[in-house]
């Protein structure tokens, strides 16, 4: 079965944004506003940045696995995102700023668990 277009776009979006996370990191370190924001988080700056980078790697692997029709890629994406959001809820004092990210995550879950996406992953598994 052909990969659903929405899934292809989503997987590439995940790959590109997480590569950009790594590329953008040096700029974050030199951005006073970002640094001041992170200074107000519960955890130290290095822990916030480090966890973000580890999460980006996990999501990047998930995106690549989804393009190769691996169902564990989808599971990894969901698990890493849930952990990431949970971590952010704990770490970030600006709670209202979590709403856009959570809405995007719900939209992505819908795309990942649509019948067409289920059929694509199940066929590859079977």
């Amino acid at each position: 079965m052909k990969r659903p277009l929405s899934l292809t776009i989503l997987a590439w979006f995940i790959i590109v944004t997480n590569v950009l996370t790594w590329l953008y990191m040096p700029f974050t370190l030199h951005n006073p506003l970002s640094m001041e924001m992170m200074a107000r988080f519960r955890l130290p700056v290095w822990a916030t940045l480090g966890s973000g980078l580890v999460l980006a790697v996990a999501l990047l692997i998930a995106g690549i696995a989804m393009l190769k029709a691996r169902v564990w890629g989808r599971n990894l994406y969901v698990a890493a995102s849930v952990i990431g959001h949970g971590f952010t809820i704990f770490n970030m004092p600006f709670r209202a700023m979590l709403i856009p990210g959570l809405l995007i995550f719900i939209l992505f879950l819908y795309i990942l668990f649509r019948p067409a996406a289920n059929a694509y992953f199940n066929q590859a598994r079977g």
Binding site: R40, P93, P100
Partner: protein, 140 residues
């Protein structure tokens, strides 16, 4: 040749979508009604010209469907930006931090009603195009 035309068409669709998103952004700013209408009209004409060029160049099954997708995508992007902006406003601590870090920072006066109305018009147009082309998929 067909591929090249389609690539050019996609680029033009994206540019037109960006123009629509920019127009929707401007609709959110508070400014005199006449001036705003003139600016929005200018953006609308630009978007129509770009969409027309994209439709003529592209060799897609349906010529209008990509336009509908662009209009809806631009509005979805704008709706998400507005949501992020509202969330930012709901965090006074963050706003204060931005004001401290950015010399001369001033929140521009905005008009939520105008912006939502403009977005509504674009969504209706996009939705109508999608519905129309869904009924006649082999058009064009």
């Amino acid at each position: 040749m067909k591929t090249l035309r389609n690539i050019c068409s996609i680029v033009l669709h994206v540019l037109a979508g960006l123009v629509v998103a920019m127009a929707e952004t401007i609709a959110f700013f508070q400014m005199p009604v006449k001036g705003k209408l003139m600016v929005l009209g200018g953006f609308a004409i630009t978007a129509v010209v770009l969409f027309a060029a994209a439709m003529l160049l592209g060799k897609f099954r349906s010529r209008l469907r990509p336009v509908g997708i662009c209009l809806l995508s631009a509005s979805a992007y704008m709706a998400f930006s507005v949501l992020a902006f509202v969330c930012m406003l709901m965090t006074p601590e963050l706003m204060q931090m931005i004001a401290t870090q950015t010399p001369g920072f001033r929140m521009p006066p905005y008009s939520l009603g105008d912006g939502v109305a403009a977005m509504g018009v674009v969504v209706c147009a996009g939705g109508w195009l999608m519905r129309m082309t869904a009924q006649r998929p082999a058009q064009g």
